[in-house]
């Protein structure tokens, strides 16, 4: 598992940490647009210093990783965005209507949304251009179909059978109509991801994800911050966009150090203002006697770490074997002893906080007797009838890590089965995983947008490319298909909950835990939120001088 390798503070998040005064609608100082209804808070300055990594790309159409998306959402903008309460709110679109059948979205664009440079306003044709550019096969985006593929005509356009995406219509300068192939309530959530964000066609024309990428060093966009500098491997500097239509940021400057380094040491030495805390330091910062304890914050993440079974290979083709393995893991002990309570136990697939999270879900609890009984009842008749078993994980270390070791030990102790391990680095792991080479594997999945579809449909629908368990259950498929197009929110969530309960019972996965952010934030930094997925959050931050 990769989870503790990253230094943690970039990314995702759920609760608002630190309190801040709401940015009021107090009139712009720095020559903001004079239109009514575009509040611009005064730019008060203050510098925020963060540790970051080089983004793979700053082209919204091409971004598929958390690091890139984190920068892009601060610099670019799209029709809609997510606020710090994690609600989908207007960005370039001022309002929208959804047709009764749930397939036609009519966006009314905000007037006076300006690009960073010059006085050009964003119009509906800019949005259409940006989305079509992302879908254009020549752009070579790996994710455009995931996020924009629901739009009518997208497939024909990708296949080269059409010159435009018919489902995206610029009705007039400020009205954009998007038609999707079926009522999909999560469509708006997908639009908050960078793929369809607005780019300046004069700047990006002729560029693809892999060529002519120079414009990304100084992108002209509409987000709350401007990219002032990107010095590869050294630093990224952001400066506020004083004309930002949702209210200018309070920070005067954000500097990301990209070279790496020991994050917590840099934090203690006052070189950065925020850092993630790894397992090695977690007990120290939790100690109330430790000065750093004052700066310590935790917040849930929307992810799930699990053991997946390939249900097509023996012995995990028998659900009873999978259930036995699940019942034989003492997750309480694992989390307390090995993970030092830095994570939250997972009974089901969906993490707390995501719509559709089911408090009532029945997990496969720790029960040694039941585990042994199930294994005896299985077609393999008990531990001695099982074939050789191996669990695969990704990593570059010399050992598989304490979590795996603990689980292997529990299986040995409680079931009398011995499982060997195979560790490969991520690239090899990924390709072997896709080829179905593993009997079982350890992996995690992080939410891209807050919808149960992003977990359940992608991972357990029999036709999904991401269904690495090769799990197929016609009832689950039916529930997921129905939920896909169900417009009543409560009914839809109930469908997902039913599907989730079946999946948990049949155990193609053993859900282990949901990660938490463990972060240190300097006391003079206010409003730094830890949302569970990528949202533009820096405009809420204030740094006291």
């Amino acid at each position: 598992m990769r989870l503790f390798l990253r230094s943690g503070c970039y990314g995702l998040a759920a609760v608002v940490v630190g309190v801040m005064a709401l940015l009021g609608g107090c009139g712009g100082e720095e020559g903001g647009p004079s239109d009514e209804g575009t509040p611009a808070a005064p730019v008060t300055g203050g510098e925020l210093r963060l540790l970051g990594r080089d983004p793979l790309t700053l082209d919204p159409a091409c971004a598929s990783d958390v690091d890139s998306a984190n920068y892009i959402v601060e610099v670019f903008g799209g029709l809609v965005t997510i606020d710090r309460e994690q609600q989908i709110v207007p960005d370039i679109a001022e309002r929208w209507d959804v047709s009764d059948d749930g397939t036609v979205y009519t966006f009314e664009l905000r007037r006076g949304v300006l690009f960073h440079k010059g006085d050009r306003q964003v119009t509906a044709s800019d949005v259409k251009y940006s989305m079509e550019r992302a879908l254009d096969p020549d752009t070579q985006s790996t994710v455009a179909e995931v996020y924009l593929g629901d739009i009518v005509g997208a497939e024909e356009f990708i296949d080269g059978d059409a010159d435009e995406v018919t489902g995206i219509e610029a009705v007039d300068s400020y009205t954009l109509r998007i038609t999707i192939d079926a009522p999909k309530p999560y469509f708006l959530a997908k639009l908050t991801y960078p793929t369809g964000f607005v780019v300046d066609r004069r700047q990006v024309d002729g560029s693809t994800c892999f060529s002519n990428t120079n414009w990304q060093r100084r992108p002209n966009a509409t987000g709350p911050f401007k990219l002032k500098e990107w010095d590869l491997g050294q630093r990224i500097v952001l400066e506020p966009n004083s004309r930002y239509h949702l209210g200018a940021a309070s920070l005067g400057r954000v500097e990301y150090t990209l070279g790496g380094g020991s994050a917590i040491t840099m934090y203690e030495n006052d070189e950065i203002d925020v850092t993630g805390v790894g397992l090695n330091d977690i007990e120290r910062v939790r100690d109330p006697a430790e000065p750093l304890n004052q700066d310590f914050h935790e917040a849930p993440r929307m992810d799930i770490w699990y053991i997946g079974f390939n249900v097509g290979t023996p012995p995990f083709d028998d659900p009873k074997v999978r259930q036995a393995f699940a019942h034989a893991i003492d997750k309480d002990k694992l989390i307390e002893v090995v993970l030092l309570d830095a994570v939250v136990e997972a009974d089901g697939i969906l993490p707390p906080g995501i719509p559709g999270f089911n408090e009532e879900l029945q997990g496969l609890e720790f029960d040694v007797e039941k585990a042994q009984q199930l294994l005896a009842e299985s077609e393999y008749g008990g531990p001695d009838g099982l074939p050789d078993m191996e669990i695969a994980s990704s990593g570059r270390g010399a050992s598989v890590g304490p979590v795996s070791e603990a689980i292997l030990f529990m299986w040995q102790e409680n079931l009398g089965v011995s499982v060997s391990t195979r560790q490969t680095e991520f690239a090899t792991f990924l390709s072997d995983l896709r080829d179905g080479e593993y009997q079982m594997f350890e992996l995690g999945w992080v939410a891209d947008y807050p919808d149960p579809e992003n977990f359940l449909k992608i991972q357990f629908y029999s036709g999904s490319n991401n269904n690495y368990s090769h799990y197929a259950n016609s009832e689950v498929d039916r529930l997921l298909e129905q939920a896909d197009t169900e417009t009543d929110e409560a009914t839809r969530m109930s469908l997902y909950q039913q599907a989730e309960q079946i999946i948990v019972n049949e155990a193609p996965w053993i859900p282990l835990f949901h990660d938490k952010f463990s972060v240190l934030i300097k006391p003079y930094v206010e409003g730094y939120t830890l949302p569970p997925f990528v949202i533009p959050r820096l405009r809420y931050v204030q740094v006291e001088e």
Binding site: D65, G260, E425, A427, R434
Partner: protein, 327 residues
Amino acid sequence: MQGILPFVVRRLVWAPFVLLAVSLATFALGRFGPGDPVEILQGQYHNPEVVERIRHERGLDDPFFIQYGNYMWDVLHGDLGTTFAPRGVPVEDIIFDKMWVTIQYNLVALVIIFAIGIPAGIWAALRQGSWQDPLTISIFLFFRSVPVLVIIPILQFIFAIKLGWLPSSGWEERDILGMKIGILDKRIIMPILALSLPGIAAVARLMRAQTLEVLDEDFVRTARAKGLREVVVISRHVARNALLPMTTIVGFALVGLLGGSLFVETLFGIPGIGQFTWEAVGNRDYDVIMAVTLITASAFIVANLITDITYGFIDPRVRLGGGGPRY
């Protein structure tokens, strides 16, 4: 001198073949090894059609020798390809800057290692039999035995957190005569310490052993017998002869240092080539891996050649041996 020229020519003639073999082997390892850069780009989201499309556009589905031929043709025309991470940046725009960073601080470390190791080795040899000899060598060996991964956090704890003298990490460049120089900043002190401390022991030990060997030679006894002052004996006769083999390990010492650069660059946040190549291997960033391999191999060929030529100049026995050493 007549031995040197044919030797150099022969080595130069072989150089392109060596590079060709290196490039072919590396290229084959990348293409036939597990993992694929486009799949990595997709992460867990998997869409086989998209992968195929991008592989096709990037020429990754061509037959092996076509891909290799295209690549080498581009290289000969000065095009080293483009990177996957970050996406679409010409390789040459990135790696030379990063190599320059790594070379700068490694050269400083190399100078320090030899500047301390050589006198320390001679000093220890001259005090053979006293307590000073084992003590000196033991101290250096201590630093040699503590892994760099342990030394670095200790240095950071002392100099950054406790004393507050140095920033814990980072790399600041200054523009000096049009060159970006990063080794004049105090941030570089800890990385150089971490890199050079373990290396000193190797040089000091070798120098000590060589000195002891030379001290036993007849010509040293002769020099002393004819009444030369000890300082002159040591500096003119002992040290000069003992230094001879040291020239051959300069190259190897540099290799060792570059190997350690990965950790140093990661833990001190230095944007050098070690860290970048490591990431490139993980990402299957073929063009970066190829470029780094080819440039490094070329550098080794040149460095080896220079070492051999230098050696020939210093030690006449080498070039009198019928055309020089065969390798």
